[in-house]
Symmetry: D2
């Protein structure tokens, strides 16, 4: 069985996803594309084996030739389109965030629970990264004892103009929140946020430093700096009772040149997480073929947004703040 | 267009290839399988989406539902099956070596040239490894000047019982010969071979040390040690006039534990070159869709075997030996 | 001129210092030793070229054959002995901490200022570590812009039995407080402390996580975990506006063995900071010869203890706490 | 007892040695200096605590205030001065090479044997490098089995004008010959040399590639490239039956900047081997105090030069060449 995929949105990420489906996803076919910019949709379709271009997102979802939907359109459209997919009983991979508001997140969860079927996967691609997977595997083997600290750094080369101090938390650290929940298998109890001064290269926003405490007492700290200038970098170290596990994503070559030994740092997340994006789609396709969900659920998407909101509140109040997220429903366990 | 692939041979490598086609090759479908061990063929077919099992290799090649053939059967069958594919005008990816003898290599080349179409790709997967590709890219950018040395190490954990000192050269260093020709874009003029003592763990064969000189004067040295015990490892450093490029295939995590910082070393080539194998098949499928050859040609397969034969002669005589390979025909440029 | 050094205290650190003076300190001579355990003093004296053993610390300080004093006796004796050295107008290198209480620190500072001469160097050896010095040098070159974050990890293999959650801060993180003040050249304004759960290997104390904000807005975070089991490790990363500087203290060899690539991790601080300890003594001797102070001053010793006390207060209250340290007197600038 | 050292020659290396004795050698004193350039001698003496400047090398050696002599004058003077030191019964540390000719080497050896006392240490400083020492230690522990290969690279940034293809072997690879003899504890049986083309930056000389076989069958290969442009680098990997040991001399920090992760490469041997040079002098001083020789003996100096001469012969003839070095006399074992 070949899974016929419809793609909504062919911006930078959407076009990348199209290419990934075309070249690297066994058992899948890019069959339909929708984008408000029809010309761009045509161009992507042509370069990826000739998918049909569809006029509206609704028609694409309803199309009987479409088995599953990849939603890579702007954030505000995620929840309505996800709801439409649930309505149509079609599996959907939704780019993060699941929704623009917590209320919309809850609506998607309610719809899924009503439908009694898990159809939504949220695009937290790090869950498919070989480094985090090896870290999870090492934790599962339990050679090093229980986790105590998880140190994270998340740096972008250049933040977009609209980025504010709040959005540094809301847009970026959700990735760390999701991956920490994935690795540690538990939720957060308290969060605190401290900000260093702004970089002179981006005076309008502050880098952020989150300290989050899980319910069992692991301290997760996250540096989020969106204007590092030197490149995109994601680091992580899990410190356990008797040892530590560190992400080590060295590029495939090093150069010696002009007094230096040099490794390239990736310019953005698409290069850094290329294999994670590819394996995310491969995993999604396999999960459809085999009927068992993988990756981040709608609940995971909600939990990440909920926790990020608590961090913003902690940042505003400069106070250690309780996270009042409900327990994960059995449906999502 | 989906490329329908027939697979001949589902031993360790063949079964791996089946899985790769099923999960990670966009635009391809595993449609038919042949193996003398029919039970094994059925089992692989079942786990990979249900390809048809075909009785003979000849029938598989002739099957109108098969667009392209992947030959992963024993070495001695490579040339006859490649010739049958050329006869049937079907593209074939042939596991290395191209043939069991130089004469058979020449027969495949002659058949292809007669057919006036390049149909054969030889499975030197390293040409698709991100490390070697980045090395080639760095050479192409020419920031570091012309190459002078290429240092290679090739280590297996445990050699098979049948392995002899000659086979260490013939079976293993062909990979280095092929990748050196790929990176440097030229052939070898002279070769010398020196052997250290045998490891006490494998007294019946010697490790080998090759020193090969290209026509333009690059020195390529290769350590081949098939009984390293600690794991599989392939290293390479290209030393240029003004700098050096080194393969740096660090695994995705490191552990600190019991007084040590530890990286895992892969147990064999399938783990080390997983992405190379995947990209080799993806590249082959794309080359069929787009009608332009990629990877090692039949001539490259011949050149590697020819050069390895010269190395064996050099080893026997302990003398610097001239390599009398003919120039690459225009057909293969 | 050879500096004749008297050593008070030949416990583990003192005996190490004796050996360093004997083998690696140009222009210095170990001339006198005092320790309550006279037998131990004799034994160390014998192994280090035959220094005189002196009955009391007071006599050693008064001895006209002693030009300078190294104080490596128990913490409670540091301040009285430092005061005696100031009284005798002899330079003293005092192992950290400068004193057992803040009040005693202030007494030493007052005595020095009265004497109008800087005689006390506190043994924060990290200021002589090649890594931190290279970090300071890179900051001074200002290629990377102003600092924003300084991430620190400080791990011991096995904490002593008497260690409490407070002492994790008071004894260990003072090193990070001192080196951060040295690198950033400023004091702290606010501190917060969060604790993960205790390791089951040391249930009586919690690891600690400090977040300290400098007056200009740099965030310095410190993980202090005294029961890591795997070894002693000190890491540091300074994140600046346009780049980052990371300590990289790899040992001189790596091994490949049994499926792993392995670096040794030092068992304790003496191995990790061997060259820092040596260069600290060499720097101290040179500073005596040349009459200009180096390393941590009495004020630096006081500032580190003062800030650590604020962290303990922050830890008890779980509140972001203001650090009310006075400005550095001109005398110490 | 303080060892009073006389230094002959204060060129680049000699001045460095003076500084090392002054700042980092416990139990030693730089007491006398001779150099034909008296002004330079005065200046070095002044900056290193005020040693006496002596008119001739002969007078310095004869001076009753000089206990031991460090010979850092031009190569041609090494043997005569070493002979004078033996005559005066004073220990001498002689910069490599021991002598300008093999005949002179033999004369020094004969003099020492006649004197019945080992007085000469040859300045092969690598024997004091932490990396090689850790490698020797790992071999001694024998966890990895017997050695099979020793891969060496030796690169300088810019070769001097007078350097020829022969001198690349004679001047540089002697270091690898000496350290291989030290690590493996045996002599060479056969040597071969292959040259790549010259770098366009130094067309008058070729880089060299040596393949040397020890008597027990270890293959030692050495790349010697004196015009690497990017910096000075010495690498080494010992491949044993069941694992490998690699030198790993990473500098103390790494930088992330402008799309790169960067380690500095040292510009020359003095930075790369700073601690080796320091420990060589410390070891020499200790050996004088304790009366037991350390480091490379006169015989080791002879053996290195002898083997290098065989390599030059092999290079000229392009033939695998037998090394006819006599067995090490018992006196030197």
């Amino acid at each position: 069985m070949t899974v016929r995929i419809g793609l909504i949105g062919v911006g930078v990420m959407g076009a990348d996803h199209a290419r990934t489906i075309y070249t690297a996803a066994g058992g899948a076919e890019l069959t339909a594309i929708h984008d408000p910019d029809r010309e761009r949709a045509e161009s992507v379709a042509k370069s990826c084996g000739g998918a049909r271009v569809v006029d509206t997102a609704e028609r694409l979802i309803a199309d009987p030739g479409v088995d599953a939907v990849l939603i890579a359109s702007p954030d505000a459209t995620h929840a309505p389109l996800a709801l439409a997919c649930i309505e149509a009983a079609k599996p959907a991979l939704v780019e993060k965030p699941l929704a623009a508001t917590l209320e919309e997140c809850r609506a998607v969860i309610a719809a899924e629970m009503t439908a009694k079927r898990r159809l939504i996967q949220v695009g937290f691609m790090r869950r498919f990264d070989p480094g985090y997977l090896a870290m999870k595997q090492a934790l599962a083997e339990n050679r090093l004892g229980a986790p105590l600290f998880f140190h994270c750094q998340h740096r972008n080369a250049v933040g977009p103009d609209y980025l504010t101090s709040e959005l540094v938390i809301a847009n970026s650290t959700v990735h760390e929140i999701d991956i920490a929940r994935f690795l540690l298998d538990e939720d957060f109890a308290f969060v605190s946020v401290t900000s260093p001064r702004a970089s002179r290269r981006a005076p309008g926003r502050q880098p952020q430093f989150l300290v989050m405490e899980t319910k069992s007492g692991v301290v997760v700290d996250v540096e989020a700096y969106m204007d590092s200038a030197y490149g995109y970098e994601v680091k992580g170290e899990m410190v356990c009772e008797a040892g530590a596990i560190t992400l080590s994503p060295n590029p495939p070559i090093k150069l010696r040149e002009a007094g230096q030994e040099v490794f390239a740092v990736e310019p953005d997340w698409r290069d850094r997480f290329r294999s994670a994006y590819r394996d995310q789609i491969a995993g999604w396709v396999a999960s459809i073929r085999e009927g068992r969900p993988v990756g981040s659920s709608a609940w995971d998407g909600y939990a990440a947004s909920f926790t990020a909101a608590a961090c913003i509140e902690a940042w505003r109040s400069r106070t250690r703040t309780k996270v009042t997220l409900a327990d994960t429903p059995d449906f999502y366990k």
